[in-house]
């Protein structure tokens, strides 16, 4: 049996900045994870649907548009609606007070500018468990 951590990494909403998320996706690949990359401009509905179909262990979203509170809330709400228990983490330009709000909402972790890819990898290794039957 070969257990691998599978992740969905993507961008939601009206936000065309994908340099950071591509670097993160690449770093996660190099760490030995299987990374499904969604590309730009996804709706929360699409993200949740993809995450379910792809059987991922966690969803990582990059949001640089400032709409993080609304978008994370919608993703978490849709996951709940569909009965999927997939942890969500994210990154972007997020003010400290919003980080508190996001964590309260159920976002497991946030990474802001200056975060090292090693830090993200370490967090996943420590916190994300590959699902089983």
């Amino acid at each position: 049996m070969e257990k691998k951590v599978r992740l969905l990494i993507g961008k939601v909403g009206l936000d065309g900045h994908d340099r950071g998320v591509k670097i993160v996706a690449r770093a996660l690949r190099d760490a030995g994870f299987e990374v499904v990359y969604t590309g730009l401009h996804q709706t929360p509905e699409a993200i949740v649907n993809m995450a379910i179909q792809e059987g991922v262990d966690a969803i990582g979203l990059s949001i640089l548009s400032g709409a993080h509170l609304e978008l994370f809330e919608r993703v978490l709400c849709l996951l709940k609606e569909k009965g999927a228990t997939i942890p969500v983490f994210g990154g972007g330009i997020i003010p400290p007070e919003d980080i508190v709000a996001l964590k309260k909402m159920g976002v497991k972790e946030t990474f802001t500018p200056g975060a090292l890819t090693d830090q993200i990898v370490k967090w996943i290794e420590d916190n994300i468990v590959p699902q089983s039957l």
Binding site: L28, G32, Q42, N49, M50, Q53, S132
Partner: protein, 318 residues
């Protein structure tokens, strides 16, 4: 085991969460899946499996995206299994095929699953055939399989699909490339994608020459060459019709049964190969460990000797 029954029911009800978990366990080669797969197998619906192979960047994912859209117009529930390579160094993978298919992401009647090759050669993943069984039991039809971007020699897709498409694009080499053995022999339909480019016609005629060199009996399927350009909605209807024509062809004169026998045999071989190879590797490593202790022995003599010994053991046991 009540859990097995629940999973089986979930699959037949097309429950996405159940399917997703099962596909994951299948991909991880969880031994618990064997019992479930065994029960699911007879529940498969007769759905056409369409394999697409071809070099990286020729537009396989984009073409699937367009074909899925065409199938959705007709109301079909469509499955897609898209394979990308795993790193030989870290085992990690970046699965990016579905970026090209994102317009179907919110459509509940399109099930797209990305698979990493996880070290399997030939352009597929070890879990591909089992994943197909799950999708067929869920009733998705047709199901598209996208191989890893292939070179010249990855022909496995032929052995798991009803209909094989070799997707090419102009500008990848001269006419000698089309004469070579390997993927240029396996297509039921050749697709010249990016047909809006100038040299597409040249490639088309090269492939047609290649087909023309072989004698086909009138009742045989003669491979077709179709020019497509999804960006301009060119050739897609024609391609869809050719795929359907091949399905009609297979459904006559018992050909589909024959094809499905081959596919089932391949599933048996695949499962056996994995098990036997694993056994063999363990055994060989064990045998070699002691033998190489003092000096490096002649590998030719060594392999001859070991093979004779192995043959003897197999003969003894049967």
């Amino acid at each position: 085991m009540p859990k097995v029954q629940a999973i089986l029911e979930g699959i037949l009800k097309k429950d996405a969460l159940t399917a997703s978990r099962l596909l994951r366990a299948v991909d991880d080669q969880d031994p618990k899946t064997i019992e479930i797969l065994e029960k699911i197998y007879p529940e498969r619906k007769p759905s056409q499996v369409i394999g697409l192979t071809g070099p990286p960047g020729v537009g396989k994912s984009t073409l699937i995206d367009a074909l899925v859209a065409k199938e959705r117009e007709g109301g079909a529930c469509v499955g897609v299994l898209a394979i990308d390579p795993s790193s030989p160094f870290t085992g990690g993978a970046l699965l990016g095929d579905r970026i090209r298919m994102s317009r179907h992401a919110s459509d509940p009647d399109v099930f797209i699953r990305s698979l990493a090759s996880r070290g399997r050669m030939g352009g597929l993943s070890a879990s591909l055939q089992d994943s197909l069984v799950v999708m067929q039991a869920m009733g998705y039809s047709p199901i598209f399989v996208e191989t890893v971007g292939t070179g010249q020699d990855e022909v496995e897709v032929l052995r798991v699909s009803h209909t094989t498409l070799v997707v090419l694009a102009p500008g990848l080499g001269d006419s000698i490339q089309s004469l070579k053995a390997g993927i240029m022999e396996i297509a039921d339909i050749y697709v010249v994608n990016k047909a809006d480019k100038d040299s597409a016609r040249t490639l088309q005629s090269e492939i047609e020459d290649l087909i023309g060199m072989k004698a086909y009996a009138p009742e045989d399927w003669q491979p077709r060459v179709i020019l497509t350009s999804p960006a301009y909605d060119q050739g897609l209807k024609e391609l869809q019709e050719a795929i359907k024509a091949h399905w009609t062809y297979l459904n006559k004169a018992g050909r589909r049964r024959l094809k499905e026998e081959q596919i089932a045999k391949q599933l048996v071989i695949g499962r056996m190969q994995d098990k036997i190879l694993h056994l063999l590797e363990t055994k060989l490593n064990h045998l070699l460990e002691g033998a190489w202790k003092d000096e490096i022995l002649n590998p030719y003599t060594m392999s001859n000797k070991l093979f004779e010994r192995f043959k003897q053991q197999v003969v003894d046991e049967t």
